[in-house]
């Protein structure tokens, strides 16, 4: 599985959404990605990529695209 697939799957599984919904998805744009969904998403991504994100990055994680950029800091290329 590529990193992109793993990344997408984390969104699909934790937020319970369809693959076509992930493109340009923004935090709090859909009911599923609320603050509770956000914490579940972060813990899932930390598990999948075996990382531990800084609180500031968790706060900055404002969209599907922004998340990709932030994960570069943890040597995860998507």
């Amino acid at each position: 599985m590529t990193n992109l697939q793993k990344y997408e799957n984390a969104f699909i599984e934790t937020l319970g959404i369809e693959q076509n919904q992930t493109t340009n998805l923004e935090y709090q744009a859909i009911p599923e990605w609320d603050s509770i969904g956000h914490m579940s998403l972060i813990t899932a991504l930390e598990d999948v990529f075996d990382i531990m994100m800084d609180t500031d990055d968790i706060i900055d994680f404002s969209s599907f695209e922004k998340g990709k950029e932030l994960l570069k800091k943890y040597d995860v290329q998507i």
Partner: protein, 239 residues
Amino acid sequence: MLDNKVALVTGASRGIGKAIVEVFAKNGAIVYANARKEGDLDDIISENIIPLYFDVTDNSGIKNAFSQIKKEQGRLDILVNNAGIMKDALIGMISGEVMREIFETNVFAVAELIQFASKFMIRQKSGSIINISSLVGVNGNKGQLVYSASKGAVISMTKTAAKELAQYNIRVNSIAPGIIDTDLHSFVGKEHMAERIAGIGMKRLGTPCDVANSCLFLASDLSEYVTGQVIGVDGSALI
């Protein structure tokens, strides 16, 4: 009572923290014991007591500690926020530096540790967080404007975190000790201590073990429906 549970206890070099580590380990837990100074845990390290050296006010130290626990155990069942400092000063003589130091250790570090631990526990959909507050955080005390405020904050954080994390089956409680016989009171003279003991209903100081045993209850499944509570361990002390 804690078989197969993984615990992290901060401020375990002495006093209450050390007793909590020993009681948890005796009850079957794998305990990560935290201290600031390398070597300070040498006398308690054993097969199931693992030392973790970091200052609780250092965020990167906290992060490394949680990474190590994740790597070695993959889970965390119990967090005890015990590390704390007490500095007394009368109103009018409290420096900004002391205010910051007390809040950084007793409040901000606790908030940070709760954030890190809850990520493990959200994943597991279980966990118990125990914050050591103080009787003075409930009642206030002369000469302890900032310390009592910091412990009051610990109690508020406990109640809020309990509400927020209940949906993940994570329990958050606090122990509010009265006067416990540790180095925290080393500066108090004998005469003054006798006066303090006279104000305790049970006419004795508490022991670190008295506090540790209450933590054991909150850490174990015996308290699985208890959250958001502040348990006084004070022998009916009058403060």
